[in-house]
């Protein structure tokens, strides 16, 4: 038998990163009896929050700052399709959450007087980004994880790979997970489920994202009938290391770094003259691509690049504020930023889109909540500002946890377990879909690489109808070829060949939703720039793209973005 006895908790949480752990703590604090199963395919402290570097934004210091200013920066950064009610709620809650992290021991960098220090991030009009040197995500995640250890009612299911949501009678009842240690399928029942599995950067070949960022939670929800929102908006971070795509934090520009082309020009004066290096990410990434196309970039063995110059900051400041940047550049490209400029190029970084949720983290499926990068509320619209996402994990993680707890207290999805056959059927599906031995079957790595290649060509920084269409067609072919995969590993214990196959299955769904959204949005907004449809079209597209999964591919509809106090205006910096 390939199933183990089911376990039952009040809330089942999928994902143990920043948003997930925050949700778990909020849930157990909201109700003294409730238990949370925290289910993750890795140990929680391995989650990708760990790689975030630069900081977390919030109006903690009110001198020269206000909620309205943070809200406006965020809305303008989003190219005006964030939901303004959500943004307003978010900025108001942000300082409280950042201070909560301080009370949980997060080693925020400090001013000489002992208060938390702040730096200015791209698109933010004042220094409001808290940071822990340049390892903010690492410190936040470990502070959260270590704090979570004191709650016995947060029950960890480490290294359990969730394969599907259990849905019965129109409500979510739990998940099925492959226990990597035994290889058996474990049904985990609950009266509410929270998804915090992060983004899907791995659908692209060149990304800052960790290998685990395969859009699992998005795909599971999508398959359970929950729509995905705004999937066409994928952020390129302007400064990644050529070759590996390793992130060089925006904090290096916040601390005073410059970008230069090969002619020695600080070329951003031609693109974002008022903000220069502290312009928003979408505009900076485009500027770098333009420089490359104009022949003003350097050529290297990993393609074109420009320079990020920190040499004028001096060794002391670099060691104090940007030690990780120094470590990464030295180790991975052999450049000591104290002495030489760092080669950088734009790299896929963040999904603005995700599972369609409201401000409380609730999705259209009864009992299902989501928060963090996996979700789309939307506060990020067409382009997220740097340092809003870590705060987003905290604010919306906490709200999702709290509201899921409330839902459970009010009865939740019926506590009687869904029929056992659901888990049995899921195991049968796994065997049928992933474990069949096709003669001359395809390797999953081949399909994965072709998918990533198609997405880079079709859905990169600049797009046009033809290239998106080609990517979409390619994805449909790959989906068909996926039916003939053959994996090498048919053992039970820690079968990462199997989990990689499931991840690829998830990613093919996500990639198609991205391509379809990009194809149908015939305008340019934020991170979605069409060469065949230049400029924003507010008449038609001040809307969210809502994608429903069907057998014939994504079915799209559009929902107006919520505008409260800030009317769309030309986005200039």
């Amino acid at each position: 038998m390939s199933l183990t006895d089911p376990v039952v908790h009040d809330i089942v949480l999928v994902g143990g990163g920043g948003a997930g752990i925050r949700a778990a703590i909020a849930a157990v604090e909201a109700d003294p009896k409730l238990t949370v199963a925290m289910v993750s395919k890795v140990y929680p402290m391995r989650s990708h929050t760990v790689s975030a570097e630069g900081g977390a934004a919030g109006v903690v210091k009110t001198e020269n700052d206000s909620f309205d200013l943070h809200a406006f920066d965020t809305i303008k950064g989003s190219d005006f399709i964030s939901d303004q009610d959500a943004v307003e709620a978010f900025v108001k809650e942000a300082p409280r959450e950042l201070l909560q992290l301080e009370h949980w021991g997060c080693p925020w960098s400090r001013d000489p007087d002992g208060r938390v220090a702040t730096r200015t991030f791209g698109g933010m009009s004042t220094p409001r980004t808290l940071f822990a040197a340049d390892k903010t995500g690492f410190h936040m995640l470990h502070a959260l994880f270590q704090t979570s250890l004191k709650y016995d009612r947060i029950v960890r299911y480490d290294e359990q790979f969730v394969t599907s949501l259990i849905v019965h009678d129109g409500a979510v009842r739990g998940v099925t997970a492959i226990d990597l240690h035994s290889g058996k399928l474990l049904p985990i029942y609950g009266r509410a489920v929270i998804i915090c599995t992060g983004g899907a950067g791995k659908v692209f070949p060149f990304t800052t994202n960790a290998s685990i960022k395969t859009g699992d939670g998005m795909a599971m929800a999508y398959r359970a009938g929950v729509p995905l929102k705004d999937m066409e908006f994928v952020q390129y971070h302007p400064t990644g290391l050529p070759g590996t795509g390793i992130l060089i934090t925006e904090a290096s520009r916040a601390e005073g770094g410059y970008l230069f082309n090969k002619e020695g020009d600080r070329f951003l004066s031609n693109y974002v003259p008022t903000k220069m290096e502290l312009g928003p990410r979408d505009l900076l990434s485009r500027a770098i691509i333009e420089e490359m196309e104009a022949g003003r970039a350097f050529e290297g063995k990993h393609g074109q690049y420009v320079h990020l110059d920190l040499t004028h900051l001096g060794e002391k400041k670099i060691n104090e504020r940007l030690p990780f940047v120094r470590e990464l550049a030295t180790k991975y490209v052999g450049i000591d930023p104290v002495k030489q400029p760092i080669p950088i190029r734009p790299v896929v970084h963040y999904c603005m889109g995700g599972i369609d949720t409201d401000i409380n983290g609730a999705t259209p499926l009864r009992g299902l909540y989501a928060a963090g990068e996996v979700a789309c509320v939307s506060i990020n619209g067409a382009n997220r500002l740097g340092s809003n996402s870590l705060t987003e994990c905290l604010v919306f993680g906490a709200w999702a946890g709290k509201h899921a707890a409330q839902y459970v207290r009010q009865g939740g999805s019926d506590s009687s377990p869904a029929p056992e056959s659901i888990a049995r059927d899921e195991w049968a599906r796994i065997e049928r879909t992933y474990l069949q031995d096709h003669k001359n079957g395809e390797r999953i790595a081949t399909i994965r690489h072709e998918m990533q290649d198609a997405m880079e060509k079709g859905c990169g920084v600049y797009r046009n109808g033809e290239t998106i269409q080609a990517a979409r067609d390619k994805l449909l072919t790959l989906r068909e070829r996926y039916g003939r995969i053959s994996i090498d590993d048919r053992n039970r214990v820690f079968n990462t060949d199997l989990t990689a196959a499931i991840e690829l299955d998830f990613m093919l769904d996500i990639a198609l939703a991205m391509a379809e959204g990009a194809l149908r949005r015939t305008e340019s907004r934020g991170a979605h720039q069409r060469r065949d449809h230049k400029g924003r079209n507010d008449q038609q597209f001040l809307t969210h793209t809502i994608a429903h999964r069907t057998e014939d591919g994504p079915r799209l509809e559009y929902r107006p973005a919520t505008i409260t106090r800030w009317q769309p205006e030309e986005r200039k910096y």
Partner: protein, 248 residues
Amino acid sequence: MSDKMKKLTVTRYNPETDSAPRTQTYEVPYDDDTVVLDALNHIKDQQDGTLTYRWSCRMGVCGSCGMNVNGVPKLTCATFLRDFEGDITVEPLANFPIMRDLVVNMSDFMEKLKRVKPWLIPKEEKSIDEGEYLQTPRQLEAYRQFSMCINCMLCYAACPVYGKHQDFLGPAAIALGHRYNEDSRDGARAERNKIIGSGEGVWECTFVGECSEVCPKHVDPAAAIQREKLANVLDKIKSFILPRGSSR
């Protein structure tokens, strides 16, 4: 990638079919940028999908990909093939039970970590509305280094004491306990001391210092252990020479 080739001899162990670990040799192309993890990924993608190991961030911060490379505990995402002459052996981290191939069972650490209470237990309670606890850069500096632990387990793989006595709390757990003890906001050293100062704690350490040698983040757990030993001794002396508080 260039056409330079390198041989990797990798530990294989499948609990379902093997009675003991064995080795298998693969050949991989590499250039100056190739790390051991890239080589493993190349094998898994192109040659043998059954090869099993953990990895995630491939930038030295998630702590997943620790393995023994030519006998030394390393993060494989930060270990370059170019730095080795001749063939390379890749083994699971020493001192841990092997689950499969290069994946070890680290449940023991997860239990121990919890026992040192690695969370802030504030000296004074303060509500969020009252704002942050003040902490000067100098006070931050007192524990910052010990907060850099990524739980990669390299120190346990290098520790000869842990190799012999699995009840030893070990370098990372003690370093993380020490991190909170040294935090100006925290007031629970006495509580943590019950475990850190116990027989399974600092007194098992024979100060070999291998843990600090292999630590990829320069946490220096050996220093944390020494400082906790000293603090323990001072506590004992104090309790011996100072008069006990009256019960009034």
